[in-house]
């Protein structure tokens, strides 16, 4: 089966359209174990380390089943890199999706048009028809996935499921055929239902937020230091399944509406609204502390950090901000900071 990859910092790519085109949507992730070499020939090393990492992988060659890439509007780095992808990635289909910056009716109308353009170009490139019924079918399937992920996510709060295991699961769902994902999630939920709380209650309950944090090893590293991600506000987490798409009415409009109504990311406006969901999570899950991770040179998160810091201080909720390199060696160097945070919360 053909695959369409998406390069997206905020999970606003309508996977349903790709599914309705009988292709598999595959989210592109960074790989912190590789060095960046070829990408640095195109992008200065002072630009987002995660975006350069993905470009590096793409230059070296993606999965041969991947027949196209959609880059979805994120930040200055990911947006501007698209033209470089056009320069050096030889794939039959490369599309830039302008997921809007704003969250109002005008932006919604625009987003619908851009999704329609995506459909038009997919149809033209692959000589297919993407019909409404199939989009609606894909919506229903994705909603099932979202429901299951929400249910499974709760087992983190019940101290049954490790944050790292959940993270790996969400990541896998974003990369495989969704029918297969559905089966995996159903099985997982059944297993969890029969499990009892077994995680150490002394673990500190953490809300994780920040940039794209896609290395499960990093979550394991935090766990090894006694920090349990009980809830998150990241795109390999709740931002992927926060709510469902309306299954009535025009499916394209419903998809656009879904993406513009879910909790905002730091790449969109007004990103300070992100604090509302963070606050809600801290209250609902009674977290011990909040960890905000910025990948090196991740400007949107860097701009938001001082505001979040101030707001959490007002609420007297412990908050740790860490700017980090995208490689596993750097995790160890951060041990002391995370340990110190664990001690104070």
């Amino acid at each position: 089966m053909k695959k369409i990859a998406y390069f997206d910092a905020a999970v606003e790519t309508p996977e349903e359209i790709i599914i309705a085109a009988d292709m598999i949507p595959v989210r592109l992730f960074g790989n912190p174990t590789i060095g960046i070499d070829r990408a640095n020939e195109h992008v200065p090393p002072t630009h987002c380390v995660w975006a350069r990492n993905i470009l590096e992988q793409a230059i070296k060659g993606l999965d041969h089943d991947i027949k196209g890439v959609i880059t979805t509007h994120g930040c200055d780095c990911t947006n501007r890199e698209f033209d470089i992808w056009l320069e050096c990635i030889k794939l039959p289909f490369l599309f830039f999706l302008n997921a809007p910056l704003k969250r109002n009716e005008t932006a919604l109308k625009f987003f619908i048009k851009d999704i329609k353009e995506l459909i038009f170009q997919l149809e033209e490139q692959f000589q297919i028809k993407i019909v409404s019924d199939k989009i609606m079918e894909a919506i229903r399937k994705m909603n099932q996935i979202r429901n299951l992920l929400r249910d499974i996510s709760d087992y983190r709060a019940k101290m049954i499921l490790e944050g790292s295991e959940f993270h790996a699961l969400v990541k896998r769902v974003q990369q495989i055929d969704k029918s297969e994902a559905l089966e995996i999630l159903k099985t997982k939920l059944e297993v969890l239902k029969n499990k009892k709380s077994h995680l150490d209650n002394k673990l500190k309950k953490i809300l994780l937020t920040g940039s794209v944090i896609d290395d499960t090893e990093f979550i394991r590293f935090l766990e090894s230091l006694g920090l349990h991600i009980i809830i998150d506000d990241i795109c390999i987490g709740t931002k992927y399944f926060w709510n469902n798409i309306d299954e009535n009415g025009d499916p394209i409009k419903a998809i656009a509406k879904y993406h513009l109504s879910k909790p905002i990311y730091s790449t969109k406006f007004p990103s300070y609204e992100r604090f509302k969901i963070l606050k809600y999570f801290t209250e609902k899950y009674k977290v011990d502390g909040v960890i905000n991770i910025a990948q090196k040179f991740c400007e949107p998160v860097l701009y938001d950090h001082p505001y979040f810091s101030k707001k959490f201080k007002e609420l007297e909720i412990p908050y740790l901000f860490v700017e980090m390199e995208y490689n596993r060696e750097s995790y160890k160097q951060l041990t002391t900071r995370f340990e110190a945070f664990r001690e104070i919360i």
């Binding site: 470089i84 704003k102 851009d114 701009y303």
Partner: protein, 420 residues
């Protein structure tokens, strides 16, 4: 930093720029005295619409350049960093945060709390984030942002049409937003008058640039970087037009008399990107190599009316809607393919020997694609290029000696290339 001797000739008219800046600051003071609405605006937003709506604009990034020119930006930047803003964030933004925090005077890059703020992501996300940050820090100033779809190398005409429509709709929403906040209504006749002035000002600048095609070049960066301020802040007003006309007249006289801005012009260069405002004199370093910058896409971009499809009639007929087309065809945000084509064309027309590309640590949208731009210009067109790593407003990120060494070697390459 070492002292650099000035040898190039600046136009006498450029000296009058100080008066224009003074006029701008006085207008701001007057607006506050009279209780007239004011607005912060980011570069690339249609400042003309603010003037049309009776709102006095202020552009904090231009204020930031003043701080840098007065060697005050580093202090302001460090103050912002003390507030938690990363070393890696935009130095204009941090200069503004520090300046506001210090209650700096307007003459040193300070600015005042506006009635509202207008930003756009047309140039960068930073503009939007910047005003979000400052709006909150100033106690919740109303903030309108214009979302400009990102044009890429394979954007088609069908897409451009609905991109434009999206921008147009937002511009009308902006006018409603201004009316709601200020009570001022949109006045078509006034908008036309402002549009006419804006068009005229942009075109005169373009004519000045046309004169720079001549050998020797009559106008140097002292005039262009120095004369840029009104293009950002006073678009739509009459007074800067007079200044630019004087600049044109003087430049034309030089051309007619075969006089160049540089005594001995040997190498003609292009400068891509924002200059280092804290060390503008550094550009004089080039003069000792008999080199002159004859074109700066950054400066030319702000002449605004670079799209031949937008005529004066269009602007007068639809002062609001024509802005949408102009925003989408803004030089500074060209997609990579267009950027390469436009650079090659410009190099040919302006008889340029080499291109200096500023890899500006603060401006990631501008520096992204710079390496590919360089590669194409060199490989496909045989144009010598040099990348200069620095920052527009943060002197800590400028290594003068290293830059000079690189430029010196580059000039040697140009010398050899010219001999062939």
């Amino acid at each position: 930093m070492s002292k650099i001797k000035k040898t190039g000739k600046m136009l006498n008219a450029t000296n009058k720029l100080r008066n224009e800046m003074g006029r701008h600051f006085l207008a701001i003071e007057q607006a506050y005295r009279e209780g007239k609405p004011t607005a912060w605006a980011t570069a690339g937003t249609p400042v003309e619409l603010l003037y049309s709506m009776g709102v006095q604009p202020m552009l904090p990034e231009n204020s930031a350049t003043i701080s840098a020119a007065l060697k005050k930006s580093q202090n302001f930047i460090e103050l912002a960093e003390d507030q938690g803003y990363s070393y890696d964030l935009c130095s204009y933004f941090k200069t503004n945060v520090g300046a506001v925090l210090s209650n700096a005077e307007m003459s040193e890059g300070g600015t005042r709390k506006p009635t509202f703020m207008l930003s756009s992501d047309v140039i960068c996300d930073t503009h939007v984030n910047w005003f979000q940050v400052q709006s909150e820090r100033m106690g919740g100033v109303p903030h309108f942002t214009i979302d400009v779809p990102h044009v890429v190398s394979n954007t088609n005409n069908r897409q451009r049409e609905y991109f434009k429509k999206y921008i147009k709709e937002q511009l009308w929403e902006l006018l409603d937003f201004i009316t709601e906040i200020t009570g001022n209504e949109y006045n078509e006749a006034k908008a036309r008058e402002i549009a006419q002035n804006s068009y005229e000002m942009g075109k005169i600048w373009q004519e000045v640039f046309e004169l720079r095609k001549n050998i020797p070049c009559p106008v140097s960066t002292r005039d262009t970087f120095g004369g840029l301020f009104p293009l950002f802040t006073m678009t739509g007003l009459k007074s800067p037009i007079k200044l630019y006309k004087r600049m044109y007249k003087e430049a034309k006289e030089r051309v007619d008399n075969g006089i160049g801005a540089l005594e001995k012009e040997e190498f003609r260069l292009m400068w891509e990107g924002i200059p280092f405002w804290y060390q503008l004199k550094y550009f004089s370093t080039l003069e000792k190599f008999n080199a002159i910058i004859v074109y700066e896409p950054y400066v030319y971009a702000f002449t605004k009316y670079t799209n031949p499809n937008i005529t004066l009639q269009d602007v007068l007929k639809n002062p609001v809607e024509s802005m949408a087309e102009l925003i989408l065809s803004f030089w500074y945000i060209y997609d990579l393919k267009t950027r390469i084509e436009m650079f090659a064309k410009t190099v040919k027309e302006w008889k340029i020997d080499g291109v200096l590309l500023h890899n500006n640590y603060s401006c990631r949208p501008n520096s992204c694609g710079l390496y590919d731009l360089k590669k194409h210009l060199m490989d496909d067109y045989g144009i010598p290029c040099l990348i200069v790593d620095a920052d527009m407003n943060d002197p800590r990120k400028f290594n003068e000696q290293q830059t000079t060494n690189k430029i010196e070697s580059f000039i040697e390459i140009l010398r050899k290339t010219k001999k062939k």
